[in-house]
C-alpha cells in the first residue's frame, strides 16, 4: 500500500486548479479530503501523476443560509457540517447523516464535495442530496453550470462532471417538515448495508410532500419518486409504508458483497426505509 510517485499541487484559487487541469488533462485529479482517492492511490488502483489538493482554496469553504436557500462549499468537512448551529437548525437531516459517516477522525477531513463528486455508491451525501433536490455547481474552462443531484450520478464513479470541471458547491431549499437518515452498517466506518434519506411535510394529518432516496443499493444513489408518491395523501399507516417499500424495491438493484446476498439487502432496505419514514413522519 505504497502509492506511485506523483506531483503535488496546492493552488490558492479555483483559477489555479482549472489551469492545472487544463495543463495535465487526464493525468490530474483534484483531491478534497482524500479519504477515497488516497486509498485508491495506495492500492495503485488510481494512478494520479498530478494531484491537486483543494485545501487552501477559501472560496470552496463556508456554509451560507440565505433566506430559503442553503449553500455548502465543496470543501466543508463533515465535522463542520455537524457543528454548524445554523445548519443543524435549518436542515437537521444533514447533521443526522454526517454523524453516520465513518468516524470523527475521518469526518475532520472528509468533505461534502468529495463525498458527492467521487460518485461512490457507498457514500451517504449523494442520496441525501437527491432527497433534498440539491443543485450542484460545477466550474470548468467554459464557466460554471448547475446540475441537479438527481441527474448527476451516471454509474459507479461516473458522474456528469467533466474531467476539467471541479465541484464548487451544493445548494438546496431549506427543507420543511420531518426528516430521517436511517443507516444500517456492519461497524463504525463502514458503508451502508442499506440507508434511506426521507423528508416529509404534513398538512391536515396527511403527507403533503415526500422525498425518498436510498444509499448503496445500486451503482448510483436511488431517488425513488414512486416511494414518495405512495406516501402522499396518506397518514403513513401500514398500507402506505408497504406501498412505499414496494415502489422503492422496484427502483433499487443491490449486488451481493461481503455485507450479504441480494435477498438480505432488499429485505433490509425495506426495513430501513420503513423506519426512516416512521421517524420522519413522527417529526413532521
Amino acid at each position: 500500500m505504497i502509492p506511485a510517485a506523483f506531483d503535488y499541487y496546492r493552488p490558492k484559487d479555483v483559477e489555479g486548479v482549472l489551469a492545472l487541469l487544463q495543463e495535465h488533462g487526464d493525468d490530474a485529479r483534484v483531491m478534497a479530503g482524500g479519504h477515497s482517492l488516497i486509498p485508491m492511490m495506495k492500492f495503485r488502483m488510481a494512478e494520479v501523476p498530478h494531484l491537486i489538493d483543494l485545501q487552501d482554496i477559501a472560496a470552496l469553504r463556508g456554509i451560507t443560509i440565505d433566506g430559503d436557500t442553503i449553500t455548502i462549499g465543496a470543501m466543508v468537512s463533515q465535522h463542520e457540517l455537524i457543528n454548524h448551529d445554523g445548519l443543524s437548525a435549518a436542515a437537521p437531516i444533514l447533521r443526522e447523516t454526517a454523524l453516520q459517516i465513518a468516524d470523527p477522525q475521518v469526518r475532520y477531513m472528509g468533505t461534502v464535495g468529495g463525498n458527492i463528486a467521487n460518485g461512490d455508491p457507498g457514500n451517504d451525501m449523494p442520496g441525501l442530496m437527491q432527497c433534498l433536490d440539491a443543485q450542484i455547481e460545477l466550474l470548468g474552462p467554459e464557466g460554471s453550470r448547475v446540475v441537479a443531484a438527481r441527474d448527476y450520478f451516471e454509474a459507479a464513479y461516473m458522474t456528469d462532471r467533466e474531467d476539467d470541471e471541479i465541484l464548487i458547491s451544493v445548494s438546496f431549499a431549506v427543507p420543511a417538515g420531518g426528516y430521517a437518515y436511517e443507516k444500517q452498517k456492519r461497524k463504525i466506518g463502514d458503508y451502508a448495508t442499506a440507508a434511506a434519506a426521507v423528508q416529509i411535510t404534513k398538512v391536515g394529518g396527511k403527507v403533503a410532500t415526500a422525498s425518498i432516496a436510498m444509499t448503496n443499493l445500486s451503482d448510483v444513489p436511488v431517488w425513488s419518486l414512486g416511494a414518495a408518491d405512495a406516501l402522499v395523501g396518506t397518514a403513513c399507516e401500514a398500507g402506505a409504508l408497504k406501498a412505499a417499500v414496494a415502489a422503492m424495491l422496484g427502483d433499487i438493484d443491490p449486488t451481493e458483497d461481503n455485507r450479504g446476498p441480494v435477498a438480505f439487502k432488499r429485505h433490509v432496505a425495506g426495513i430501513i426505509l420503513t423506519r426512516a419514514i416512521t421517524r420522519a413522519w413522527d417529526r413532521a
Binding site: 500500500m1 510517485a5 444500517q184 463504525i188 450479504g260 446476498p261 438480505f264
Partner: protein, 805 residues
C-alpha cells in the same frame, strides 16, 4: 508485636508486589507515541524489501523477468527461488515439521504467496519495482474446500509426491497431511451404541486472522567485518528465531543476535518464521547493508498466519437425565498450502484434545485430519493456547445441542456434568491432568450475579410477545464455561523444533538494592515489565519500582521459548519466582552473617531478614545487597545474582464462567449486547488491573470472531476480505461494557499458584457470544448455525426459521 503490624503492611504495600494493581510501567512511552517498534528503526544505508506476490491461488510459475525492475534507478536486487536455491534457502522448515517455499519454486499454492523479493534504496522505489517484475503464470485448478481436496486428483504438493508418510504419520491421500488420534475409539463407539441419547452435530469454525495492529516485519543487518548478523523483528519467540536462523544459514549461533523491540500485538501471528525474514537476511548478507521488510495490512491478512479453519463433527452420548457418557470428535483441518501450524511438535492439532472441556466425560475419542488446500498457510493460536479456542467452542456448542435434544436448561446440564472439586487433579479421557478447579462455585456465582432465572423468565416473556406480534426482537442468553490449558510446557512432551518449552529468568541485584531481571519471554502488550517485577518484589523484598525487566535481546536475555499460549506467567513467571528464591537463599546467609546468628535463626519478613523472635534486629534487602558486593563474607562469593530455568511439571488450567445477554433484531440481523459478565479464575492474581485489561481485550477479540471477523475465499481462491473495511476489527463503538469477576483457585504446582489469563477471555468469549445468538432462536427450532454471526447470517437464520413471514 501488634504495634509492628501496620508498619509491616506499609512495607508490604511499598513493594507493589503480588495482588497490587500497579500501573503499567510500559504505558508512559506507548501513550506518548515513544515506543520503539521495528518500523521505527532507521540505519545508515538501510535498504528496503518488498514482495512480488501471486495473484493466483494455484498456478505454475512459467517465468520471472526481472529486467525492467532491475533497470529502475534505486533497485539493488531482485531475488527469486533460483537465487536462493544455491544457499538452500528457497524452502524453509515450518514449525509443524513441513517445509514451505520462501519464494515460489515452480508454482504457487495460495493467493499472496511470495514470488520475488525486491530490494531497493527506498521503500517507494521497492514498491514501484514490484510492479515491474513480470511473472508469467499458468493457472491450475484451485482447491479451497478441504473435503474436495481430499477427493481431488489435483496434486497440490508435488514436492511430496510419493511420500505416504509425513512427520505426523501416514498420509491417506496426496493432499492429506496427517491423522492425529487421541482417546479410545472402540470404547467411545460402544458407549455411543448403547447410550440413552446420542446427538450429532457438525460445525465449521471459520478461518480468521489475529490481525495485530502492528504487522510483521524485520530488519536484518549483516556486519561483514565481524561476521555478526543482527536481526530485529516482531518475534514472539526471539530465541527460537536465533536458533532456527543459525541452523538454516550455517552462521554460528553466537554470531547471531535477535532483538524483539516493542511489539504492537501478536496474538499468535508473530510466532512463526516468514519468508520476509529469510529474504531480508539473505539480502543483507548479499549487499552488506541493513535490509528492512515490513508487510502492509493486506499482506498481513492474506499471507501471514491465519487461525482456526476447523470443520468439526461431534457426537455426544448421555443418559436421559443428562449425564454425559461419551464424546466423539472428528475434525477436518484446513491448513492451506503448507503445514505451518505453530504447535508443540508432538501435537499437530495442538491441544484440541482438551475438547472434553470442563466436564467429567469418562470416554472420548478425537481424530484430526490435516489437509492441504490453496489457501495461505498458518493455523496459529489466535489469542489462545494451541487450538484450545476450537476445542472449547466445540464442546460448548455440543453441550447446547445436547440440552436442546434433552429439552433441558443448558446451565443445569453443565452443572451436573462439571468435574467436581474433589476430583482434582483430574485425569481427562483424552490424556490431560487438570491441576485444580472449583467449577461449581464459579458457575453458581456467575448465574446468581446475572440473575439467571430472571433472565430466562424475561426471555420466555419475550418469545411469547414475539409470537403475539408485539415485538420484532428476540433475546439470547449465551452461556459458556471453559477450561484453558496453558503454560506449555513440560519438556518431556512439549518442544518446538526439538527445543524444550522451558523458560528462564536471570536476576542481578545491584549494590544499592535495586535490580534488573531478564527473561526468555517477550511482551507484545501483556505488561511483563510491570507484572514480572511484582512477582520478584514479593519474592525478594525489593520494590517493583526498583526492578527493571528486560526481554527480547538474545545477547542479554537467558534462553527461553517466548510468549504465546498464555505461557509467560505459568513458565517464565515461575522461573522468576524460582530465581527470586535463590536470591533469597543467599540473602539469608548474608543476613545471618551480618546479624551474627545462625542461618536458621533469621527469617524473611517482606523486605528484610529478621532474627527470629527479635524483630528489632534485622537487615533489609538493601543492606544485604550492599554487603553482598562490599563485604568479605566467609564461604560466600561476592555478588547477588541468580538464574533459573524452569521446566513446568504440568500445564496450568485456568477456567471461567461467562454469560452474555443479547437482543437480536430479527428483521435486520443486528445484535445488541445488553450485558456481558465474565468470571475468570486464573489462580493467584498478580495484577488485578492488568487481568481486567486482558479480559477486556480477549473478549473484544472474541466478539470480533463470533460476530463477523473472517478470512473468506471465493472459489478461485481469492481472499474476499483482506482490508479493514471488510475484516472486522471492533472499536469502542462496537464493544459493550464488560463486567469482570473472579474466583481464586491457585495452581498447586506453580511456585506462586498463578495460571495465566491473557487468552482465557478469548477462549471462553467466542462460544459465549455465539451461544447467545443461537440461544435467541432456540425457541423457534434452531439447533446450530455457524459463525461468524454477522448481520446477514443472523438474518438468514431468522429467514430459514420462517420468522420473516
Amino acid at each position: 508485636m501488634n504495634d509492628l503490624t501496620p508498619e509491616r503492611e506499609e512495607r508490604s504495600a511499598n513493594l507493589k508486589g503480588l495482588g497490587c494493581s500497579r500501573k503499567r510501567v510500559e504505558d508512559a512511552r506507548f501513550t506518548q507515541g515513544k515506543g520503539n517498534y521495528v518500523d521505527d528503526l532507521k540505519m545508515p544505508g538501510m535498504l528496503h524489501g518488498d514482495f512480488v506476490r501471486s495473484p493466483y491461488a494455484h498456478a505454475r510459475v512459467v517465468s520471472v523477468n526481472k529486467d525492467a525492475a532491475l533497470a529502475l534507478d534505486g533497485v539493488v536486487a531482485v531475488l527469486t527461488a533460483e537465487d536462493l536455491a544455491p544457499l538452500n534457502l528457497h524452502w524453509m522448515p515450518t514449525l509443524a515439521g513441513d517445509k514451505q517455499m520462501v519464494l515460489a519454486d515452480g508454482k504457487v499454492l495460495f493467493q499472496g504467496q511470495e514470488v520475488a523479493f525486491v530490494v531497493a534504496r527506498d521503500r517507494y522505489v521497492a514498491a514501484d519495482a514490484v510492479e515491474l517484475v513480470e511473472v508469467e503464470y499458468e493457472e491450475l485448478p484451485v482447491l479451497t474446500d478441504p473435503f474436495e481436496s481430499l477427493k481431488s486428483d489435483v496434486v497440490l504438493r508435488e514436492d511430496l509426491a510419493g511420500q505416504t508418510t509425513g512427520p505426523h504419520g501416514p498420509r491417506k491421500h496426496h493432499n492429506h497431511i496427517f491423522t492425529w488420534e487421541q482417546g479410545d475409539e472402540t470404547a467411545t463407539n460402544q458407549v455411543m451404541d448403547s447410550a440413552d441419547v446420542v446427538v450429532e452435530e457438525s460445525m465449521y469454525y471459520h478461518r480468521t486472522h489475529p490481525c495485530p495492529l502492528e504487522t510483521c516485519g524485520c530488519v536484518a543487518s549483516m556486519d561483514k567485518v565481524n561476521g555478526k548478523l543482527t536481526l530485529w523483528g516482531t518475534f514472539q519467540a526471539p530465541h527460537v528465531v536465533r536458533t532456527v536462523a543459525s541452523m538454516l544459514s550455517g552462521i554460528e549461533e553466537h554470531n547471531i543476535r535477535v532483538i524483539s523491540p516493542d511489539i504492537g500485538g501478536g496474538f499468535g501471528n508473530k510466532v512463526g518464521v516468514y519468508p520476509g525474514y529469510i529474504c531480508s537476511i539473505v539480502a543483507s548478507i548479499v549487499t552488506g547493508q541493513p535490509v528492512k521488510w515490513v508487510e502492509d495490512r493486506m499482506e498481513n491478512l492474506m499471507a501471514t498466519a491465519f487461525a482456526r479453519d476447523y470443520w468439526m463433527t461431534g457426537k455426544i452420548a448421555a443418559t436421559k437425565e443428562g449425564k454425559i457418557t461419551g464424546l466423539h470428535c472428528q475434525v477436518t483441518a484446513d491448513h492451506g498450502g503448507f503445514d505451518a501450524c505453530a504447535d508443540p511438535t508432538k501435537f499437530p492439532a495442538g491441544f484440541m484434545n482438551i475438547c472434553t472441556g470442563s466436564y467429567d466425560i469418562p470416554v472420548a475419542y478425537l481424530a484430526v485430519d490435516g489437509v492441504y488446500t490453496n489457501k495461505a498457510p498458518g493455523g496459529v493460536s489466535y489469542r489462545c493456547s494451541f487450538r484450545v479456542t476450537e476445542a472449547v467452542y466445540f464442546i460448548e456448542r455440543m453441550i447446547e445441542v445436547l440440552a436442546i435434544e434433552l429439552d433441558m436448561d443448558s446451565a443445569e446440564l453443565r452443572r451436573i456434568n462439571f468435574i467436581r472439586k474433589e476430583q482434582f487433579p483430574y485425569q481427562s479421557a483424552l490424556g490431560w491432568e487438570y491441576d485444580s478447579g472449583d467449577y461449581h462455585t464459579a458457575w453458581d456465582k456467575a448465574l446468581k450475579t446475572v440473575d439467571y432465572d430472571g433472565l430466562r423468565k424475561e426471555q420466555a416473556e419475550r418469545v411469547a410477545a414475539f409470537k403475539r406480534g408485539e415485538t420484532r426482537t428476540l433475546m439470547g442468553i449465551g452461556l459458556s464455561f471453559f477450561t484453558e490449558i496453558v503454560g506449555a510446557g513440560p519438556v518431556k512432551n512439549c518442544d518446538i523444533l526439538g527445543m524444550g518449552m522451558f523458560d528462564s529468568c536471570e536476576i542481578r541485584i545491584h549494590p544499592t538494592g535495586s535490580a534488573i531481571a531478564r527473561l526468555g519471554t517477550i511482551s507484545q502488550g501483556q505488561g511483563h515489565a510491570t507484572t514480572f517485577a511484582q512477582i520478584l518484589a514479593s519474592e525478594i523484598g525489593i520494590p517493583a519500582d526498583s526492578i527493571t525487566i528486560e526481554e527480547g535481546d538474545t545477547d542479554t536475555a537467558p534462553y527461553g521459548l517466548g510468549t504465546y499460549g498464555s505461557r509467560s506467567t505459568p513458565v517464565a513467571g515461575a522461573a522468576a519466582a524460582m530465581a527470586g528464591r535463590k536470591i533469597r537463599a543467599k540473602a539469608q546467609m548474608i543476613a545471618a552473617y551480618l546479624l551474627e546468628v545462625h542461618d536458621d535463626d533469621v527469617e524473611f519478613d517482606v523486605d528484610r531478614f529478621v532474627v527470629k523472635g527479635v524483630p528489632e534486629r534485622f537487615k533489609t534487602m538493601k543492606d544485604i545487597a550492599y554487603a553482598a558486593y562490599n563485604q568479605a563474607i566467609p564461604g560466600l562469593e561476592p555478588g547477588l545474582e541468580a538464574v533459573s530455568y524452569y521446566d513446568p511439571p504440568n500445564m496450568t488450567y485456568p477456567f471461567g464462567a461467562y454469560v452474555c445477554v443479547m437482543d437480536i433484531d430479527v428483521d435486520t440481523g443486528v445484535p445488541d449486547i445488553r450485558r456481558f459478565y465474565a468470571l475468570d479464575d486464573c489462580g493467584t492474581r498478580i495484577n488485578p488491573m492488568i487481568i481486567e485489561g486482558q479480559v477486556h481485550g480477549g473478549l473484544t477479540e472474541a466478539l470480533a470472531v463470533a460476530l463477523g471477523q473472517e478470512i473468506a475465499y471465493d472459489k478461485m481462491g481469492n481472499v474476499k476480505n483482506a482490508t479493514l473495511m471488510d475484516f472486522f476489527l471492533p472499536t469502542a463503538w462496537e464493544v459493550p461494557n464488560f463486567e469482570t469477576d473472579h474466583t481464586v483457585t491457585p495452581s498447586p504446582h506453580h511456585p506462586i499458584g498463578a495460571k495465566g489469563v491473557g487468552e482465557s477471555p478469548h477462549v471462553g468469549g467466542v462460544p459465549c457470544f455465539s451461544n447467545a445468538v443461537q440461544d435467541a432462536f432456540r425457541a423457534f427450532g434452531l439447533r446450530h448455525t455457524n459463525m461468524p454471526h454477522d448481520h446477514w447470517r443472523i438474518w438468514q437464520t431468522a429467514n430459514d426459521l420462517g420468522l420473516h413471514e
